[in-house]
C-alpha cells in the first residue's frame, strides 16, 4: 500500500521535505492555537485539523504518499465543516478553505514526482 517516493538526493525528495516542514509549522500553530481556543470554549476544529496535519506533514516530509492522501482527506472534511459554519457565503468561505486549497495544490505534485521517480 505505502511505497516510498523517496529517492535520496532527487528534487522530489527535497520538495517533499521542505513542504512537510512548512506544513508541520502550520500544523503546530493550528494545534497550539486550537488547544487555546478549546480551553476558552471555542470550536474544536483547529485542534483536530492541527493534529491531522501533524501526521500528514511528518509523512510528507518523509516523502510518503499516505501523507498527501491524509492532507486531501483533511481538506475535504474542512470544506464540509466550512459549509456547515457559513453555508455558501463565498466571502466567509474564503478564510476557511482558500489557503487549505492552495496547500492541496502544493501537495498534488507529490503524486507526479512519485511516478517519474520510480525506476
Amino acid at each position: 500500500m505505502i511505497y516510498r517516493i523517496r529517492r535520496p538526493g532527487t528534487i522530489g525528495a527535497w520538495y517533499a521535505l521542505v513542504l512537510g516542514i512548512f506544513m508541520l509549522v502550520i500544523a503546530l500553530l493550528l494545534l497550539v492555537g486550537g488547544i487555546w481556543l478549546v480551553s476558552l470554549g471555542g470550536s474544536p476544529y483547529y485542534l483536530v485539523a492541527g493534529l491531522g496535519m501533524i501526521v500528514s506533514a511528518l509523512l510528507i516530509a518523509d516523502a510518503r504518499r499516505l501523507g498527501a492522501w491524509i492532507y486531501i482527506g483533511i481538506f475535504v472534511l474542512t470544506f464540509i465543516w466550512a459549509l456547515w459554519e457559513v453555508g455558501l457565503d463565498i466571502w466567509n468561505l474564503i478564510p476557511r478553505v482558500f489557503a487549505p486549497a492552495v496547500l492541496v495544490l502544493l501537495v498534488l505534485p507529490l503524486f507526479r514526482i512519485d511516478r517519474r521517480a520510480r525506476p
Partner: protein, 667 residues
C-alpha cells in the same frame, strides 16, 4: 376597550386639527433666511446639506436614471493643500461638501483655506488662507463653509462666506472676491476661544460650518477626545452673521444663562461638545444640535448631571435665545464614544389622518435612526428602552437600559458569534477566534473593561458625519452604513503612566496618537480603543462590511438594501471583492431619482437609481472620496454639474490628494 379607541380617535382628530392650525399659523419665512428650503434657488446648494434642513435633496433633474451613464469628467481643480510631514497625526481629511451660491462653488480645505471656483470651468476665482496656527493640531478637517445674504442696507459683504479655522476663529469673507468683511467681528474674524479659559494648543476648534438661521450663525466645536477631564467647554454659540456680535450661548453647565461668562469665569469646562453639522428650522425658530461626549469617553463615574443629561443627544435650541426647547438622548451615560456625528435631517413626512408630521431624523453611530417630532422631541417612530449589559469597570454606573428606535429599521449589525470571525487564512481566523473569547462580549453595549471589551457597533460608527439623505418625492431615506467592531479597553493609571500615556501636549505622548491610546486623565484609567483587526491588519469579523439601504419613510420598511463598495483599494493587490466596504461621507439625492455617493474606501464615485437601488454609473476618483457630493446648475451654461471633493482620509488610509472633481453630461 371601546372607550380607549374612542379616546384615541378623539386625540387623533385633536392632533390633526392642531397640526392644521399650526401650519396655517406659520409666518412666511423672512428675507434673511439664506439657507432655508423655501429661499434656496433650485440650481444652488447653499449649505453642507444643501439647505438648513440637511436633507441633501436637490430638485434638479437634467441628469436622470436614463442618461447618467453618459456622465463625464467636466473639470478637476487641485487645491494645493496636501498633508505636510508630521501633520494630522490623528487625521488629515478633505471632508468638505462644497456649496454653490453667489455664482461660485466654495469650500474649505483641511487647513481651512477657503476657495471659490467657477462652477462651469473649475477655474479658481479667489482663495483666502486664514494662516491658521496649527500648533498642537492633530486633526485636520473642515467640512465646509456657510453662505449668508445680509439684509439690503448692509454696507459691505452683501453676500458672504463664513468659515471656521483650525485655530478657533470664525471668519467672514465677501463671497464675490474673498476679502475679509472688516465689519464682522474684529477685522472680519470672531475669536471662538473667547470665554473658553485655558485651551492647550490643538485642543479646541471648529471643523464644521455654522448653521445659518435668521441673522444668526450658530456653531459648536470639536474638543480633543479623551485627553483629560477638564478640557475646554463644548459651548454652542450664536453670532450675528452681519456684525459678528455674540448673540447667545448654550452652556450645558449653566442652564438658563445665555450670556458670556462673568469676568474671571469661563464657559463650563468639559461639557458635551457638538463637533458636527447642525440643522435648523427657520419656521419653528429652532436649531438642532447633535452633541458628543464630554471628555473622556470611556469611563464616567464622575460625570456631572449636565454631562449625563446632554451627552450624545439631539438638543433643540431656540434660535433667538439659546434656550433648550427639548432634548432627546440617543445613548444614556455613553461610555462607548457614541457621540452623534450625523447632521439631523429635517423632513416632513406624511402620517396618520393625512397629517404631515414635522420630523427630525437622527442617525447615530449605533446604527439606530431616531425619528422625532421636531416641534417637541417626541418619537414619531416608536422608541423602546431595552435592558443592556451591566457590571462595567469598577465604580462605573451604567444605564440599565438604552433607547432603541424599534419603529424604524435598524442599521446595526446583529450580535457577533465566534463563527463571524474572519481572516485571510485559517491562522489569522483562529487568532481572531481566540481574541473573540478572550475579550468580554455580552452583545451591544458591553461596557469597556480592563480585560478589553468588544464594542459592536463601535466608535467608528455605523453612520457618522455623512449622515443620510432623504428623497421627499419618493419618501425614501438613503443610508450608507459600516460595520466595524471595536475593542474598548481600559488601562489602569499606574500602567498608563509607566507607558507615558499622557494627555496631548505633555510632550512624550506624540507617538501614541492614532494608536487608539489616550490618557483620559483625571480618571483611574487610560483608554485603548481600536478596531478589532487580526495581526495581519484584516478585519476580525467577516463581510459584509458596508451597506447602502433605502428606508421607506411612509411604511418604515426597508425598500432595498445592498452591499456597498468593494475591497478594491484596501485589499492586497487591489483585489476588488464585492463584500461591501466601510464608508465615511454622505450621499445626495436628486428629484430625477438618482442617488450619488462616494464615501466608500474603494475610491469609487457611484450613482444609483434611488427607487430600485440599481447601480447606474461609477467612476474612479483621483483620491479617496470621503466627502459628500453636491449638485448645481452652472449659471453660465445652464448645465447640471455633480461635484465631490477627493482628498482621502489619512486615518482610513485612502489615497491622499487635493482634488475637487466635477461631472456633467457631454454638451
Amino acid at each position: 376597550m371601546k372607550r380607549t379607541i374612542f379616546l384615541m380617535a378623539t386625540a387623533g382628530i385633536a392632533v390633526a386639527g392642531g397640526a392644521v392650525l399650526a401650519q396655517q399659523a406659520i409666518a412666511p419665512v423672512p428675507d434673511t433666511e439664506t439657507a432655508a428650503p423655501s429661499t434656496t434657488p433650485a440650481g444652488e446648494w447653499r449649505a453642507f446639506g444643501r439647505t438648513a434642513y440637511g436633507d441633501r435633496f436637490s430638485p434638479l433633474s437634467q441628469i436622470t436614471p436614463d442618461n447618467v451613464d453618459k456622465l463625464k469628467l467636466a473639470w478637476t481643480y487641485r487645491t494645493g493643500d496636501v498633508r505636510k510631514p508630521g501633520e494630522g497625526k490623528s487625521a488629515y481629511a478633505f471632508e468638505a461638501t462644497p456649496i454653490m451660491a453667489a455664482g461660485s462653488v466654495a469650500f474649505c480645505t483641511p487647513h481651512g483655506v477657503v476657495i471659490a471656483i467657477d462652477p462651469e470651468t473649475g477655474k479658481e476665482r479667489w482663495r483666502f488662507d486664514p494662516n491658521a496656527n496649527t500648533k498642537g493640531v492633530d486633526h485636520y478637517a473642515c467640512r465646509g463653509v456657510s453662505y449668508y445674504e445680509a439684509p439690503a442696507n448692509t454696507p459691505e459683504c452683501a453676500k458672504r462666506i463664513l468659515s471656521p479655522t483650525l485655530d478657533g476663529r470664525l471668519i467672514a469673507l465677501d463671497a464675490t472676491n474673498g476679502h475679509l468683511c472688516r465689519s464682522f467681528g474684529v477685522n472680519g474674524m470672531v475669536n471662538l476661544l473667547d470665554g473658553l479659559g485655558h485651551v492647550g494648543p490643538g485642543y479646541a476648534y471648529t471643523t464644521s460650518p455654522p448653521v445659518i438661521i435668521g441673522r444668526n450663525a450658530v456653531l459648536g466645536g470639536w474638543v480633543y477626545d479623551n485627553q483629560y477631564n477638564d478640557e475646554p467647554s463644548g459651548v454652542v454659540r450664536a453670532y450675528d452673521a452681519v456684525t459678528g456680535k455674540f448673540a447667545w450661548a448654550w452652556d450645558a453647565g449653566r442652564p438658563g444663562d445665555h450670556g458670556p461668562p462673568p469676568p474671571g469665569k469661563t464657559f463650563t469646562r468639559d461639557t458635551p461638545n457638538a463637533w458636527t453639522v447642525f440643522s435648523a428650522d427657520p419656521q419653528l425658530g429652532l436649531v438642532y444640535v447633535p452633541t458628543g461626549n464630554a471628555p473622556p469617553d470611556f469611563y464616567g463615574p464622575n460625570r456631572t448631571a449636565a454631562q449625563d443629561e446632554y451627552n450624545s443627544s439631539i438638543v433643540a435650541l431656540d434660535a433667538k435665545t439659546g434656550d433648550v426647547r427639548w432634548h432627546f438622548q440617543t445613548t444614556h451615560h455613553d461610555v462607548w464614544d457614541f457621540d452623534i456625528g450625523s447632521q439631523p435631517v429635517l423632513v416632513d413626512v406624511p402620517g396618520q389622518y393625512g397629517v404631515v408630521s414635522k420630523a427630525l431624523l437622527a442617525p447615530t453611530k449605533r446604527g439606530e435612526i431616531f425619528m422625532l417630532d421636531r416641534t417637541n422631541g417626541r418619537p414619531l417612530a416608536a422608541v423602546e428602552e431595552r435592558p443592556v449589559p451591566q457590571n462595567g469597570a469598577p465604580g462605573e454606573r451604567l444605564s440599565p437600559t438604552q433607547p432603541f428606535s424599534v419603529g424604524l429599521p435598524s442599521m446595526a449589525p446583529s450580535r457577533l458569534t465566534e463563527k463571524n470571525m474572519w481572516g485571510a487564512t485559517p491562522l489569522d481566523q483562529l487568532w481572531c477566534r481566540i481574541q473573540y473569547h478572550r475579550y468580554r462580549y455580552d452583545g451591544q453595549f458591553t461596557p469597556p473593561t480592563v480585560q478589553g471589551s468588544i464594542t459592536y457597533p463601535g466608535s467608528f460608527g455605523v453612520i457618522d458625519w455623512g449622515s443620510v439623505s432623504v428623497d421627499p418625492v419618493r419618501s425614501l431615506m438613503i443610508v450608507n452604513s459600516s460595520w466595524m467592531p471595536y475593542i474598548d479597553q481600559l488601562i489602569p493609571r499606574k500602567k498608563a503612566d509607566q507607558r507615558d500615556i499622557l494627555p496631548h501636549g505633555s510632550g512624550k505622548e506624540s507617538s501614541k496618537v492614532n494608536t487608539g491610546l489616550a490618557a483620559s486623565g483625571g480618571t483611574p484609567y487610560a483608554s485603548y480603543v481600536r478596531p478589532f483587526l487580526s495581526f495581519l491588519g484584516f478585519p476580525c469579523h467577516g463581510p459584509p462590511w458596508g451597506h447602502l439601504t433605502a428606508v421607506d419613510l411612509k411604511t418604515h420598511k426597508i425598500a432595498w438594501r445592498k452591499r456597498f463598495g468593494t475591497t478594491g483599494g484596501v485589499a492586497p493587490l487591489g483585489i476588488a471583492l464585492p463584500t461591501g466596504i466601510f464608508s465615511l461621507g454622505g450621499s445626495m439625492v436628486t428629484q430625477s431619482g438618482l442617488t450619488f455617493i462616494g464615501a466608500a474606501v474603494d475610491g469609487k464615485f457611484r450613482a444609483f437609481n434611488t427607487a430600485t437601488g440599481k447601480m447606474l454609473w461609477s467612476t474612479d476618483l483621483p483620491a479617496g472620496g470621503q466627502a459628500g457630493p453636491m449638485t448645481y446648475i452652472s449659471p453660465k451654461s445652464g448645465r447640471q454639474f455633480v461635484v465631490i471633493a477627493a482628498g482621502g482620509h489619512s486615518a482610513l488610509k485612502t489615497k491622499a490628494g487635493d482634488y475637487v472633481v466635477a461631472y456633467a453630461l457631454p454638451r
